[in-house]
């Protein structure tokens, strides 16, 4: 294993914005394509229900600041979402122009135009509400926790956020492919949120006992702890140097400079979700000569979105379908390849059974293997809190309020969805904040 061989300049270029921001003219021409739908499908499809036709019309009428206000009023992570949302399956998937012109309005890019415009001018749209004398604790400073905290500050409640890491923002800051969201941008978007008067305590992990304490000392508590490390494969050789955990591989491009990042010459990525594509495209950008995504099922079953798959293909990534990993191979104390078993699918869709093809084992030589599997929930921590229920990796809450089975304890984000998108986390934080607001107000009476 070695550090990337590419120079700083080349790396900067490789990790530059996937879609650079629009100019004013580009934005206006694109905005003019919007039909200004009534009860717009795009707005409904956006989990935070941003009033899309309104913000696009504000761009069209040369009011990008008003446009940004429309966006941030529904989604305080509007800039991150503009960069990283899978718009293809959200607003743009719903856009009626997709039916009429086979091409949706580029809502994400327009959203970025407006939010960047306002951010560059350091416009502040929100003020803390009048002090209510109530205080709420938030665990986890990811999109869910901070969206909740921001909404609570607007309502005038005092908010303390406890974050295990030494950097705020959760996966939004360090987990999203750097060519979508740079660390620098992610942190800049947090500034106006934190300026609302949020008491942020970094490097402050909270355990089950801690949660119980918070429930005693605060009027309400919100859990936005996301998910933990990725699952293990439980096959021989998993500890061999050169075998990486997917998240660690992505994290390094955020926590250190690009030229400190490690990458193999031949990289095999195991899994075929969006995280796998992120790992594979990052490996290419860091200078890997050959990158292969190996997946047990076929292209049809992969959970990566179509545009992610297209991106991967455009980056020259190889795909090995029907390949189930059996062993990481070692030579001189280092990874030298991954042994796979060819499998056939018996049945339909994701329920199909995997059946080994006799004599179908093979080796892909590589000096780096990245396990891009789903993240594990914090089951141990959560089930240690009396009254919380975790089912199929999800913390069970009332979806309309974010309320858990414990009075005063609310939750949202990846910990209740087992991994969705930033935009879902933001919305769930918002919904919980509204419910918490009702709860703490009624408590005093």
């Amino acid at each position: 294993m070695a550090k990337t061989q590419l120079g700083q300049e080349q790396l900067e270029e490789n990790f530059a914005d996937l879609h650079p921001n629009y100019t004013r003219d580009e934005a206006v021409v694109e905005a003019s394509r919007c039909l200004f739908c009534f009860d717009a499908p795009c707005t409904r499809a956006c989990p935070t229900h941003i009033d899309v036709p309104k913000f696009i019309r504000q761009i069209l009428h040369d009011n990008p600041i008003g446009s940004a206000e429309t966006i941030f009023s529904s989604n305080i992570f509007g800039g991150s979402c503009a960069r990283a949302c899978p718009t293809e399956v959200l607003c743009e998937g719903a856009c009626v122009d997709r039916a009429m012109l086979k091409e949706p309005v580029q809502i994400g890019r327009l959203q970025r135009y407006a939010t960047d415009y306002a951010a560059a001018r350091e416009i502040r749209f929100f003020e803390p509400g009048k002090d209510t004398g109530k205080k709420v604790a938030v665990v986890g400073a990811g999109p869910a926790g901070l969206s909740c905290a921001h909404e609570l500050r607007k309502a005038g409640h005092a908010v303390t956020v406890f974050e295990a890491r030494d950097i705020p923002g959760g996966l939004n800051t360090i987990g999203i492919a750097a060519y979508k969201i740079s660390t620098e941008f992610a942190l800049s978007e947090l500034k106006p949120i934190l300026e609302m008067g949020i008491d942020l305590k970094l490097s402050s992990p909270v355990n089950a006992a801690g949660i119980a304490d918070l429930l005693k000392n605060y009027d309400a508590v919100f859990l936005g702890i996301g998910l933990g490390a990725t699952s293990r494969l439980e096959i021989p050789g998993e500890e061999t140097p050169g075998v990486w955990e997917g998240l660690d591989f992505v994290f390094q491009s955020h926590t250190g400079p690009y030229d400190e990042c490690e990458v193999g010459k031949h990289v095999v990525v195991i899994g075929a979700g969006n995280t796998a594509v992120d790992c594979a495209t990052e490996a290419v950008r860091l200078g890997a000569e050959k990158v292969t995504i190996a997946y047990r099922r076929s292209q049809k079953e992969m959970t990566a979105y179509d545009y992610e798959y297209e991106l991967a293909k455009a980056d020259g990534i190889h795909f090995e379908w029907h390949a189930s990993p059996v062993q990481f191979l070692e030579k001189d104390g280092r990874l030298c390849g991954v042994k796979f078993q060819r499998v056939a699918l018996v049945g339909e869709g994701r329920e199909a059974k995997l059946q080994p093809v006799p004599g179908g084992d093979f080796v892909i030589e590589c000096d780096m293997a990245v396990k891009a599997l789903g993240q594990l929930p914090f089951t141990e921590l959560l089930t240690a809190v009396k009254g919380l229920k975790v089912e199929k990796g999800r913390l069970i809450v009332d979806r309309k309020t974010g309320a858990t089975g414990v009075a005063g304890l609310y939750a949202g984000g990846d910990c209740i969805s087992k991994g969705a998108e930033i935009v879902n986390a933001v919305q769930e934080g918002k919904i919980a904040a509204w419910a918490i607001n009702d709860y703490v107000k009624s408590k005093g009476k």
């Binding site: 717009a40 499908p41 069209l60 719903a94 997709r98 039916a99 009429m100 979700g273 992969m302």
Partner: protein
């Protein structure tokens, strides 16, 4: 049967041109260099930028435009005056161009002080070039009108008649009088021109306008050192006003003169509409200022192919065909009834028809919400809503939050106003279909007469929510 190219040549009061497309008197006809290039590009005629005895002085800046949600120059205005070149230079160039383009129409636009000898002098000098005809600019609404010329003449029927008759005293070529639209009823001036002896009418010239205000400087647009003036408005946005005026001149019993139609023409369809509503030739300015002479190619080809499709061999086969179809409101048939109908297989679920009818018309569109599952089942692969899968997620355009809005016309209350069909972005998705109204065929005029005699029942007001 072979379909030949139709004959699109024109003849207006004896002035011939290979096609009916002329350049209006304006910047595109400012010089011999330009008119030559225009003819080479395919224009059939050109009305030279208005001449006068002494070159005028212009200001800068001069033009302003209206854009509409991203589309540029829907309308243009200017505070430019007539020619800023000497009469001698202009006359020399007119002569040369006419010599080199004997089959094209070269018309010279004129505007001088309202004195008989002055008009006589310029008419003689100009006709000496060999030009095909004259156009009297009684329409320029800014600058020149303050000096008693242009629309100052065109707004007073008596002046129009007087100056036209002075010109006719000496003119040997046909005389077109160009009318201003800045008047309540253009027919009065048209009739005056006729009395003065005009051979034809050109209209419209530009409309008085202020283009807007610069929201940074608070100066009007266009501005000259922070001040503005009432400029002349033209371009695609003015076409309906021009069509209305052209038709009213064409339909007038007294006038009965050939018309050169002007105002907002940018596509072949616009030109055909002018011809149908009574024009014999058409003139274009703004569209050429925007895109250049080359646009005539698409105009010619559009006209030819439309004629071919319709089976017209020459322009006179359809010229003026729509004039008599416009008349008084009181003669429209009250028994005629249309209602809107939505083709559910074309609908993309944008909701624009609904909100237009709900807020701006007659609350006659029903919006119902169905689940995405129900929609997918109903629609199959038939409708335009594209159903796709990505990463195991189903996406349907027009669907959000798991639901789709369906729009249907309440045909019992629909008044047939057209509004929904006008705003629907999908062509032929909303059509207006004829329905039996149950009323006897009659106009308002006939209805009021019959009502007075007790022969018909009173028509009941429409049902509203």
């Amino acid at each position: 049967m072979t379909i030949r190219k139709p004959d699109i040549s024109s003849n207006i009061c004896g002035i011939k041109s290979p096609n009916p497309f002329w350049l209006a008197s304006a910047p595109p006809t400012n010089s011999g260099y330009q008119v030559r290039r225009a003819f080479e590009a395919g224009w059939g005629g050109a009305v030279w930028k208005t001449l006068t005895h002494e070159p005028i002085v212009n200001v800068s800046s001069r033009y302003g435009a209206v854009d509409y949600d991203g589309r540029k120059v829907l309308g243009l205005n200017n505070i430019e005056l007539i020619t800023d070149r000497t009469l001698d230079v202009n006359l020399k160039e007119v002569r040369e161009v006419k010599k080199d383009f004997p089959n094209h129409a070269v018309i010279v636009s004129l505007m001088v002080d309202s004195k008989r000898e002055v008009w006589h002098d310029i008419v003689k000098k100009v006709e000496d070039t060999g030009c095909d005809g004259l156009e009297l600019n009684f329409g320029c609404p800014h600058g020149m009108s303050e000096r008693g010329m242009g629309s100052a003449v065109g707004q007073v029927p008596e002046y129009t008649e007087m100056v036209t008759s002075w010109v006719k005293e000496v003119a040997k070529t046909p005389v077109l009088v160009k009318l201003t639209p800045n008047i309540t009823d253009v027919r009065h001036v048209g009739r005056a021109a006729k009395r003065g002896g005009a051979d034809g009418i050109s209209l419209i010239n530009t409309i008085n306008s202020i283009m807007g205000v610069d929201l940074n400087t608070l100066a009007p647009r266009p501005q000259v050192a922070g001040r503005g003036s009432h400029g002349g408005y033209c371009g695609p946005a003015v076409k309906p006003i021009a069509l209305n005026m052209v038709q009213s001149i064409a339909a007038d019993k007294e006038i009965q003169l050939p018309i050169s139609g002007i105002g907002g023409i940018q596509a072949w369809q616009d030109a055909v509409e002018f011809l149908l509503l009574g024009a014999t030739t058409v003139q274009v300015c703004t569209a050429v200022m925007h895109y250049g002479y080359r646009i005539v190619e698409t105009m010619i080809s559009g006209l030819e192919n439309w004629m071919r499709e319709k089976g017209y061999a020459k322009i006179s086969d359809f010229q003026g065909a729509t004039v008599a179809k416009v008349g008084d409101w009181a003669d429209l048939d009250l028994s005629y009834k249309v209602v809107a109908e939505i083709d559910q297989n074309k609908c993309i679920h944008c909701g624009l028809c609904y909100i237009a009818c709900e807020d701006g018309a007659h609350q006659s569109i029903r919006m119902t919400t169905i689940t995405e599952e129900e929609f997918a089942k109903r629609n199959g692969n038939g409708g335009p809503a594209s159903v796709e899968f990505s990463g195991g997620k189903r996406v349907i355009s027009g669907s959000g939050d798991g639901r789709v809005n369906i729009f249907e016309i309440k045909q019992d209350t629909c008044v047939g106003c057209n509004m929904c069909s006008l705003v629907c972005p999908v062509s032929n998705c909303i059509t207006m279909v004829e329905r039996e109204s149950g009323l006897p065929k009659m106009s308002w005029r006939q209805y009021t007469e019959k009502l007075a005699k007790g022969e018909v029942e009173k028509i009941q007001p429409p049902v509203h929510v």
